[in-house]
């Protein structure tokens, strides 16, 4: 009897909380759900504790880092941060990275957006095969192109230059960005675009004034994902940059790691450097996490 009622109610249940446990089966499911939530929260806690430990360790001595990882530092050593910032070159590296990543990510999106719009909506002959041509680039890993790029940039005198590194980033980020934005532009309704054009707006004006604002969430997502990827990039940076003064944060961290091998392990300093590198990403994530996650998964789904 109760089963029949459940069948009748089932469609109405859509989107609501599950019915209260009445039968052993229900009860078992309920218990199972409790256990599985506990497991999920355990994994979540692992990630959160990890970040907390990293930030906390940046104020400690090496002994404290290992002997009492979970305790607060006896004395808060803000000096670790100062040492990492000025003594280990993280200050300059942070500045280099911010300028490089911000300018490059903006350039990537500015160049990809019109291309993605034209590919998604122009209906011109060849736009399908052109889209495939761009998408194929996503499968080319850095190790294939790094040697020719090195030779190419050497002939342009752009090795050991942040401009050169920026160009490398620009080229290798275009396929993914074009792919992501093509998905966004394709999902926009036709009507507004047609209406704008019938009102006498030119194609360029229609793109700038109507379509670009509509795709804003896609543009922000593309900007974010590129910024995160470039902020953490290593292989190209380590090949193309040699002077300390041009180091990015990845390189400054690797250099600090090298130095620690010789001068004795100062893990407080190491964690201060790590914190300088991850804190901006942490703040960016807290600020835009919905945007990042949803934009990313939307882009994948299309």
């Amino acid at each position: 009897m109760s089963e029949r009622i459940e069948i009748e109610q089932a469609p109405k249940l859509a989107g609501s909380v599950s019915a209260p446990p009445q039968q052993p089966l229900r009860w078992r499911i309920h218990l199972g759900q409790k256990i599985s939530s506990a497991i999920v929260w355990l994994v979540v806690a692992f990630n959160l504790v990890l970040v907390a430990l990293v930030l906390l360790s940046s104020f400690k001595t090496t002994t404290e880092v290992f002997q009492s990882p979970l305790r607060l530092p006896a004395v808060w050593r803000f000096g670790n941060w100062a040492d990492a910032w000025s003594g280990s070159g993280f200050g300059r590296a942070a500045l280099n990275t911010v300028v490089l990543v911000v300018l490059t990510s903006i350039a990537i999106v500015l160049i990809s957006a019109p291309a993605a719009y034209a590919l998604a909506r122009s209906g011109a002959r060849g736009s399908r095969s052109m889209t495939t041509f761009f998408v194929l680039g996503m499968g080319i890993p850095p190790q294939v192109i790094v040697i020719p790029l090195f030779l190419e940039l050497a002939s342009l005198h752009l090795v050991n230059s942040l401009t050169g590194l920026g160009l490398v980033y620009l080229g290798s980020s275009l396929p993914f960005t074009v792919y992501l934005l093509t998905g966004f532009f394709r999902s926009l309704p036709d009507e507004l675009e047609e209406a704008a054009m019938l009102d006498g707006a030119g194609a360029v004006r229609t793109f700038l004034k109507v379509m670009l604002p509509l795709a804003r969430s896609g543009l922000v997502t593309a900007l974010m994902l590129n910024a995160v990827g470039l902020w953490n990039e290593v292989l190209m940076a380590i090949v193309f940059i040699q002077s300390d003064s041009k180091f990015t944060l990845s390189l400054a961290l690797m250099a600090l790691l090298s130095r620690i091998q010789y001068s004795g392990a100062d893990y407080g300093l190491l964690f201060a450097g790590i914190s300088i590198m991850i804190l901006p990403m942490l703040l960016l994530f807290l600020w835009l996490r919905r945007q990042v996650i949803e934009g990313m998964t939307l882009g994948m789904g299309r």
Partner: protein
């Protein structure tokens, strides 16, 4: 407002006068023509940069792979000799094997773990927060995660600390063949958040009543997963599988940081494709600069992965399920 009127007008062509129809048609034709006119100028900048910094280098890499060259002395034509030597090079074969192990073994583990966790997270309270916390490591530098991973498993590290506290003897995790296992575990750890997020987005598209009906039919969690979740998220999963393949091929930084310093490479037993190319060219205390040889290895890896992607697409292709 004007837009609304325009839309309404276009939906009722009978109500328009002849002149207006003509105007409308020229407007339509103008629209299509205008869209086509912008095609080239809109695409040109992206196209030029893409070709200059990605496509051309790929072609040059194929050409370089036929030579012996260190970038300074004269190039020496080898034909396919680099390729035949590669397949007798124990270090290359190890890095090829490692890359494939990461692709297949870690791939299966990551997707299984993601499935289990997403299934567990369905209808959980505080799910959005949990999703964020699980995704978060994706934003962090793999070097940082690698350093933390090393600290976990080093001789006096956290894992051994826990082992000693519960009365077990400490284990040399990072010595010998154990090191690669720790690397595999670490790669799984840094990757899983992204795939949980993607698969979860697919699961969220499934209407709730499918699960209710399955539950009423007496399906257990595994059956619900098999008959509801898996078929209805198949498209998302196949995109995620391609993404995993691409990301595996690109993996460099997490393994590189296991060398422990800027100029020290990790032991060749844990190299993958990207480490091999770097190790044969710019990496190490005395960089070997074997541009031709390293290019050949990169091309082989690219070919292996291209074949893998084609097979994957074949295997995963099927009719789309309408929700």
């Amino acid at each position: 407002m004007v837009n609304d009127i325009d839309v309404a007008r276009r939906r009722e062509p009978d109500a328009l006068g002849a002149g207006q129809v003509a105007h409308r048609q020229s407007g339509r034709g103008g629209l299509a023509a205008a869209r086509k006119r912008i095609f080239l100028p809109f695409i040109a900048p992206a196209f030029v940069l893409y070709v200059a910094f990605l496509v051309a280098p790929t072609v040059v890499a194929m050409w370089l792979s036929l030579y012996n060259w260190n970038g300074l002395t004269t190039r020496q034509w080898l034909g396919l000799r680099n390729y035949t030597v590669l397949f007798q090079d124990a270090v290359f074969l190890a890095s090829l094997r490692n890359t494939v192990i990461i692709l297949v073994v870690v791939g299966v583990a990551v997707f299984l773990f993601s499935f289990v966790l997403t299934t567990m997270m369905r209808g959980m309270r505080g799910r959005s927060f949990a999703r964020s916390a699980l995704f978060f490591p994706f934003m962090l530098s793999p070097i940082v995660l690698s350093i933390i991973w090393g600290i976990f498993f080093q001789h006096n590290g956290i894992v051994n600390g826990i082992f000693r506290q519960i009365g077990l003897s400490s284990v040399e995790w990072l010595a010998g063949p154990g090191l690669f296992r720790i690397v595999l575990l670490g790669v799984a750890w840094i990757s899983v958040g992204l795939y949980i997020t993607i698969i979860l987005a697919g699961v969220d598209q499934i209407p709730r009543h499918y699960y209710d009906e399955a539950e009423i039919a007496g399906a257990n969690a595994l059956q619900r997963f098999w008959h509801v979740t898996l078929p209805l998220t198949w498209d998302v999963i196949s995109v995620a599988a391609i993404l995993w393949t691409i990301n595996t091929l690109k993996l460099f930084d997490f393994i590189f940081a296991f060398g422990g310093s800027m100029n020290t490479l990790p032991p060749p037993s844990i190299w993958n494709s990207a480490l091999f190319v770097y190790g044969e060219t710019f990496g190490g205390q005395v960089p070997p600069y074997r541009f031709g040889y390293a290019s050949a290895s990169a091309i082989v890896m690219l070919a292996v992965f291209a074949v893998f992607v084609v097979i994957l697409r074949r295997l995963m292709r099927r009719e789309a399920v309408e929700l």
